[in-house]
């Protein structure tokens, strides 16, 4: 390791920051029991910029009876700020799998966001307020087995009746990869949707 640092330094002049603490906006904490990743600062900046610092936190990222679709409520005049907000939430999903589904739902309406979509986005931010420092934990005491989980719903998207795939991968007990994505075709049965989810999960593997 020391050798490669010398090589890099003699070729490019590097700044040696020693232990990894802050990378791409992600904070890294090391301890005896493991490594913890979070985007606390990024999350707090997001809450501040959305002007909800004074509001009450919510316990869930989304109302579970809510089915977002391209509805008839008033179109937003400031489309750019909605897009920027969803973009920031997307980046936040790198350490927050809990908002992955909500963000996937919001990102479907980037072209024509309405008032109800903005309200749902604000709900996610209120949820983030509850635990801005939540993140991923990679324990030291863990096996090196790769485990994958996949799931799908069936045609819950009101606009297109397409299904949504979700998957998770673990090394031992460390979560390393996940995704929530709408399938590209309409499935005529729930098992078909599950199979499709399984196929895209295997692709990731």
């Amino acid at each position: 390791m020391t050798h490669i640092k010398h090589v890099l330094h003699s070729n490019f002049r590097i700044k040696d920051l020693v232990i990894l603490k802050y990378f791409l906006g992600i904070e890294v904490a090391h301890s005896e029991i493991g490594i913890y990743l979070c985007q606390c600062k990024y999350c707090l900046d997001l809450i501040r910029d959305s002007g909800l610092s004074g509001g009450k936190p919510c316990s869930t990222p989304m109302d579970n009876s809510l089915r977002l679709h391209q509805d008839d409520s008033e179109l937003l005049t400031d489309v750019l700020s909605y897009r920027r907000l969803v973009g920031r939430l997307l980046y936040l999903t790198t350490t927050r799998p809990d908002i992955s589904f909500a963000t996937q739902q919001l990102s479907q309406f980037m072209s024509k966001p309405t008032r109800s979509h903005l309200a749902a986005a604000m709900r996610v931010i209120k949820y983030l307020k509850g635990h801005p420092g939540q993140g991923l934990f990679f324990p030291r005491d863990s096996q090196i087995h790769l485990t994958g989980f996949s799931d799908a719903d069936w045609g819950t998207c009101i606009d297109s009746r397409r299904s949504i795939t979700g998957y998770y991968f673990f090394i031992g007990s460390s979560l390393i990869s996940w995704k929530t994505k709408k399938q590209i075709t309409v499935s005529r049965s729930s098992s078909k949707a599950e199979y499709r989810a399984f196929a895209s999960t295997t692709c990731e593997l």
Binding site: M1, T2, K5, L8, N11, L17, F23, S142, I176, S177
Partner: protein
């Protein structure tokens, strides 16, 4: 105010594809790769270090003929003069690719191998020692089982 910082930036928007630039794509690391490496580093108790390359883009070598107007403040004899660039500048369309080429060639020449799944991850195994580097443009994560100094 501690210090002033200034940087010469080329007008990349004046470039034409096929004349003074060709390929501009350069890969960046996938988030899943970082998470896999950190999870493994945690389990194996590897040390994780962070390095930062100074003025990364200036290291790239240009193979194209790129000309630039003489920057203000530089006095040259005679008029109708211009600069021919040998190295990348910030602002050129190919800067990030040239930096990626330069850094990956150097790492490969040191015996590192690129991972199949993500070209920004390079690893080296020699005897019992293992070293891995994750390169995100000019930020590098370095980890491995060899002891430090």
């Amino acid at each position: 105010m501690e210090r002033y910082k200034a940087r010469l930036v080329a007008k990349g928007f004046a470039q034409t594809e096929g004349i003074d630039y060709f390929e501009t794509f350069s890969p960046v690391v996938k988030m899943a790769t970082i998470q896999v490496v950190l999870a493994l580093a945690s389990i194996h108790r590897w040390t994780i270090q962070q390095l930062d390359v100074n003025n990364a883009f200036l290291h790239g070598d240009l193979s194209e003929d790129v000309y630039m107007t003489v920057p203000p403040g530089l006095s040259v004899s005679g008029t109708h003069q211009c600069c021919k660039l040998h190295k990348s500048l910030y602002g050129l369309k190919q800067s990030s690719r040239k930096w990626y080429e330069k850094s990956s060639i150097l790492l490969l020449s040191c015996g590192y191998q690129q991972a199949q799944s993500d070209h920004s991850l390079v690893v080296k195994t020699a005897h019992s020692s293992f070293t891995a580097l994750i390169v995100y443009v000019d930020d590098i994560i370095l980890t491995g089982n060899s002891t430090m100094r």
